[in-house]
């Protein structure tokens, strides 16, 4: 009696697997691939020759003085898009507080005495593609100096790249670092 019940429930489970684990995701994949191929495949960004540079949705590592920098990252060795991760340090962690202080000290030369908080704290994903508009403005003079560009020109570029809240309400104002740096590169050309 119990064995029969178990076998029947097992069979039900298998059919459900075919429906929910195979048919459902394949249906969504099919529709997504046909209707929104770009977004369904990771919103990839390519250069002029079709090589993949990254994804508009993912941050990547920038260390040169001539590029705007993203947030500190704990994804793998930093911005590893196959190993997302965060510091997960608690608010009273000595490690956290000293790391933040060191980052602030290192950034201070860029644009002022007080560094915006998002530039010295690690993101949740380690792949945050954005910084706050304040953090972008904070880096303007360093980037302009490194590239030999007038500061006003770089500042205008940043101002034009600030994304407002979605529909004017949702989320926070932000700047996509990869998009900003690509615009910066084409400015020089």
């Amino acid at each position: 009696m119990l064995a029969i019940m178990f076998l029947r429930q097992g069979a039900l489970c298998l059919v459900f697997t075919a429906l929910l684990g195979v048919a459902y995701p394949l249906l969504v994949t099919g529709v997504a691939q046909v209707a929104f191929p770009d977004r369904a495949n990771g919103s990839l960004v390519r250069d002029g020759e079709g090589r993949v540079i990254g994804s508009t949705l993912l941050g990547q590592s920038f260390t040169g003085a001539g590029y705007f920098h993203g947030r500190p990252s704990f994804a793998g060795e930093g911005y590893d898009a196959a190993s997302s991760g965060a510091s997960n340090l608690g608010p009273t962690s000595r490690d956290l507080i000293s790391t933040v202080a060191a980052r602030a000290a290192a950034a201070r030369g860029d644009g002022g005495a007080t560094v915006p908080v998002d530039l010295v704290t690690a993101s949740g994903s380690g792949l945050d593609p954005h910084i706050s508009p304040q953090s972008a403005t904070f880096q303007v003079s360093r980037v302009a100096h490194a590239r030999g560009l007038p500061e006003d020109r770089v500042r205008d570029l940043v101002a034009g790249r600030v994304e407002g809240r979605q529909f004017g309400i949702l989320g926070e104002p932000r700047v996509n670092v990869l998009a900003l740096n690509m615009a910066l590169d084409s400015l020089g050309k």
Binding site: C13, A86, S123, G124
Partner: protein
């Protein structure tokens, strides 16, 4: 609170308040077997599934048979998922050639997904093939949610039916919930998420050469279909390691809003389904009000704490007007991170869009307490509602004691048997959190998982056992969960938190369903007004508070005082 933040909060609450009653009405029709718009398409599939499982729509089960069928179904699901995880290297759709999961981690993961916990001791993009994610996990996301919803419907039948013997049919309740409620909502949400940028592909990971000339390997997969059901079914298990903080899981503020609403949608709808099924919509609204009150109180604490930032970071060198941003994403900021955190711990969802481990002590404590109260502030799909009914039973019992009358709820006498069974179910939380949690502080194998020093370390451990027992699944993720000791013990905590509540609650339903309903008299304590809502909230806070306050004092409260006093560990 800035205007922009209040607007987003109000919009979120309005979306829940507007959609939950409509969905609740639809769900009541589904579970009562009445026709809906989708019946012509889905009825043939529904009938096939019944035939396969040998279920008949009009054949009600005694609560013991209902429970046995449920256990058999969940056991089959566990074995299937365990096998998939152990054999993924031999199965198709493994473009990255990932190795099989170890035995204990596979046990932990299979238990986790079958119990609707979705605690993840692994990182998705590193450990799981597309086959395991889709065929294994996505399936259980649906089925564990459907199981919880079925139990809630059975418990509601215990109140709504009169002098009956059976509490419904498990297979029928399960199939209806999955086919008519979870599946259509998931298809819609999955496609909306793709529009916002969530990937849905079976291609291998993509190699990129970054602007600075570095290499970046971009992990993706069939993410949207899994994320839709993980939110709607209060599962919470992410496709990627960092869950909905990952820009591919949650790319925009709109995807964030849709995912947040999806967390609370079905749990909130259950209040209104309840009102319909017992024939008194005021009863459902009262429970919705109690849940909303507790939700808003928790949100106020978390938001205030996160907005204030971390006083240990010197104000002269860092501008913290944006709040505590460690572990948070710029596109969400403090408001959306706090709101999500409260929603995901109020409901037993457990997906995160910011790292709870890096929340301020008071913010983290409110999240922890929401889980410890028993996941009843909206709670898991179904699970939250039958958990809340347990507190309702206790509240009318206490009210009955105060006025010296036999307590009644919806015309049914609440007697010793129901109260005893209810208390039995209630004990699973302290047993899993306090006893198993305390046990983990003794052996070196248990302590090794703690990452942070000082009181925060204790909070990490408490949070892990609370999350497992409450079937939440979120974590203070610095906690090293993937060890043989924790995989086993947390697996047991999840089983305890799930079945040690389901079985007594089904017994309560079985006991209530046979009772006659008494007509309301002048002496009946009304359970739909503000007085009852206040009593219910009070009972929840007193029971949860008294049980867990000592541990909260040693963990987050001690850390708060240390932080204000300028101590680091």
């Amino acid at each position: 609170m800035p205007m922009t933040d209040s607007l987003q909060l109000v919009l979120f609450l309005a979306m829940i308040a507007a959609s939950a009653p409509l969905l609740g009405r639809y769900m009541a029709r589904v579970y009562e077997g009445k026709g809906t718009l989708l019946t012509p398409i889905l009825a043939p599939v529904e009938r096939t599934l019944y035939r396969l499982a040998g279920a008949k729509v009009d054949k009600d089960q005694h609560w013991t048979t209902y429970a046995l069928t449920l256990l058999a179904f969940n056991l089959a699901g566990f074995l299937l998922l365990f096998a998939i995880l152990r054999l993924q290297h031999l199965l198709p759709f493994n473009p990255q050639d990932l190795a099989p999961m170890g035995t204990r981690l596979a046990f932990n993961t299979a238990v986790s997904f079958v119990t609707n916990t979705n605690w993840q001791a692994y990182s998705g993009e590193v450990a799981l093939s597309d086959f395991s994610q889709m065929v294994g996990l996505t399936t259980q996301n649906f089925l564990s949610a459907g199981t919880g919803m079925a139990v809630a419907v059975a418990v509601i039948q215990g109140f709504s039916r009169r002098s009956a013997r059976g509490i419904g049919n498990f297979t029928v309740d399960l199939v209806r919930g999955v086919l008519y409620i979870l599946l259509p909502l998931s298809i819609v949400l999955a496609l909306l998420l793709v529009v916002q940028g969530v990937p849905q592909t079976l291609s291998p990971y993509v190699h990129a050469t970054t602007l600075e000339g570095g290499r970046q390997l971009i992990a993706q997969g069939p993410a949207a279909s899994q994320i839709a059901i993980k939110q709607l079914g209060t599962n919470g298990g992410g496709f990627f390691g960092v869950n909905s903080a990952h820009p591919f899981e949650n790319p925009t503020p709109l995807s964030n809003l849709l995912e947040m609403v999806s967390i609370l949608l079905i749990p909130a709808a259950f209040c209104f389904l309840f009102g319909r099924m017992v024939g008194d919509t005021r009863q459902g609204r009262a429970i919705f009000a109690a849940m909303t009150l507790l939700f808003l109180a928790a949100f106020a604490v978390v938001y205030a704490a996160e907005h204030a930032g971390n006083p240990l970071i010197p104000a002269l060198s860092v501008d913290q007007t944006a709040g505590n941003m460690e572990g948070k994403e710029v596109r969400f900021g403090v408001l959306n991170s706090s709101l999500w955190a409260v929603a995901t711990t109020a409901a037993s969802n457990g997906s995160v869009n910011a790292m709870h481990d890096s929340f301020t002590p008071m913010g983290g404590m409110a999240l922890l307490l929401l889980i410890q109260l028993g996941e009843i502030v909206f709670g898991g799909v179904g699970a939250g509602f039958y958990g809340m009914l347990l507190f309702v039973i206790l509240s009318v019992f206490i009210a009955g004691l105060m006025v010296g009358r036999t307590p009644e709820y919806l015309g049914k006498k609440i007697e010793a048997r129901e109260v005893k069974l209810g208390l039995l179910a209630l004990l699973s939380m302290p047993l899993g959190i306090l006893i198993l949690g305390a046990l983990s502080t003794v052996p070196a194998a248990g302590l090794a998982s703690v990452q942070d020093a000082g009181p925060h370390g204790l909070t990490e451990l408490l949070y892990a056992y609370s999350s497992a027992t409450g079937n939440n699944g979120s974590a203070f993720a610095g906690f090293g969960a993937d060890t043989p000791y924790q995989n086993t013990m947390l697996g047991l905590a999840m089983l305890l938190g799930r079945y040690a509540v389901i079985l007594p609650m089904l017994a309560v339903a079985g006991s209530l369903v046979g009772k006659k309903a008494h007509a309301e008299t002048a002496g009946t304590f009304p359970t739909h007004g503000p007085l009852f809502v206040g009593l219910l909230v009070g009972v929840i806070l007193i029971i949860g508070g008294l049980t867990f306050f000592p541990t909260l004092a040693l963990g987050p409260l001690a850390e708060q005082f240390a932080m204000v006093g300028g101590h680091v560990y």
